[in-house]
Amino acid sequence: MTLHSIGRMKRHILKIFFSVLAFTSVFWGCTNQGNERREKLTVFAAASLTDAITQISKSFESRANVRVYVSFASSSTLQIQIEKGAPADLFISASPTQIDALQKKRMIDESTRCDILRNSLVLVAPIVSSAQLLEPRVLGQPHFQRIAIGDPNSVPAGIYGQESLTRFGVWSEIQSKLILAADVRGVLAYVESGEVDLGIVYKTDVAMSRKAQIVYEFPSSSHSPILYPAAMIRSTKRERLAREFLEYLKIRETTAVFENYGFSAVR
């Protein structure tokens, strides 16, 4: 390489470097409002609470002038993340099982534990399907080829579903038809896409959906009570704020929001 061509190469590389820098710096400034000064609260909540808790946390943000980060996933996933040290201040689970597990590991503050909501389990079908109201006993029929459900090894909605279908005596027949999803919203997505014939979700999930219809509501006697406990994580650095949020979840204004979405508040 000649001296001249090395100089040319250097200039070329510098040109590319600075244009990439300029390009990325355009996005650097894009943040959500000025939130650096406000305190931050991290909430882990079950996937079925996505819409309700998003709305509620927004109103809490403006009331308390804080920033609330919420992570929605299957309660079992969140439990494992908390066990592994994820920085959550609060946990709202779709079943007592996950909170019990954390309680056993002394990771939650038991004095703050409280059941806040109830829900019911339903069988849904894509809105375009011709399925009408039906009984779970018919699920074994060849007409139904794919049934979406949360993983019954971990996802609360899947566990409740297994309990109900076992009670109806069809669980073993339908094993080969099961499409497992990571959380209850994943099940809903499968149903809405039309890729599966049926799915098992909470009644509150279907309320939000325009592409899924309820074909059966499981009687509450067919499964363990669907209770949503909330608790503060012991290792939180924002104890005052976390307690405030927990109290906020129980006031009349908030329970009205939950009931709007189809949950029943525990009084």
Partner: protein, 231 residues
């Protein structure tokens, strides 16, 4: 190392689908590589970009595109369903589809590099001696670049074994049917089954390490090609 039934199922499924995928993409892979290495035509750069796209796109994006195309109501899926009663999504075929799309560019790239090394003069001489293009391909081009083909195949195989994002999009995560090794590992981490995770992570790493080492040392070393050129 004792593996549970589910773990064995994941391993077997991974190997089965990776092998099937390899058999499916080898002929078109060689063909496309030849087009890219040895021909020039209008739109060649478009073909090159389309083929290489899954290499750069996030795998979940590639998977999502496949999902749209092959779902029951999608353009290709609807046709397959009507003509053959074939439902790709959530079946092991979806796994093969996903891993094929993802590993195809890897294989093609490797073969293109090898094919470009084949001296075009040798091919030209063969043509002047009366050989048709097909004969030239099979008797001159292919034998001279077979190492690149094998190397590309091994790379594609190894990549297929590790594919996650596209697979989970189109095939779901159904134990025994579509739960490959990477999907099983993810599932076990989610459900806190640590010992299963350790076993499968060890297995996957060993397989990947072995495959890659074998490919790099035997078929992808560039000096082995240049030594032959100097002779």
């Amino acid at each position: 190392m004792n593996l549970t039934d589910a773990e064995v199922a994941a391993l077997v499924l991974s190997l089965k689908t990776a092998l099937s995928s390899l058999i499916c993409i080898l002929p078109p892979g060689i063909g496309v590589a030849w087009l890219l290495a040895k021909t020039s035509f209008r739109g060649k750069s478009v073909l090159n970009t389309v083929v290489m796209l899954p290499l750069v796109l996030p795998p979940v994006v590639s998977g999502y595109i496949l999902l749209i195309l092959f779902s029951r109501n999608g353009p290709i899926g609807a046709v397959l369903d009507r003509l053959f009663g074939l439902e790709i999504i959530f079946s092991w075929l979806a796994v093969v589809l996903a891993i094929s799309v993802i590993s195809f560019p890897l294989m093609v790239r490797s073969i293109v590099i090898a094919m470009e090394e084949v001296d075009p003069q040798l091919e030209g001489v063969a043509r002047t001696l009366g050989a048709g293009p097909l004969k030239v391909f099979f008797t001159i081009t292919l034998p001279l670049c077979y190492r690149g083909i094998i190397g590309g195949a091994i790379l594609a195989f190894a990549r297929s074994l590790g594919e996650f994002g596209a697979t989970i999009m189109v095939a779901g995560n159904i134990p025994g049917k579509t739960q490959t090794l990477p999907l099983a590992i993810f599932n076990y981490v989610q459900t806190g089954q640590e010992t299963s995770v350790y076993r499968l992570v060890f297995l996957s790493t060993a397989i990947a390490f072995g495959t890659l080492w074998f490919a790099e040392n035997r078929y992808l070393k560039s000096n082995s090609v240049s030594i032959r050129m100097n002779n």
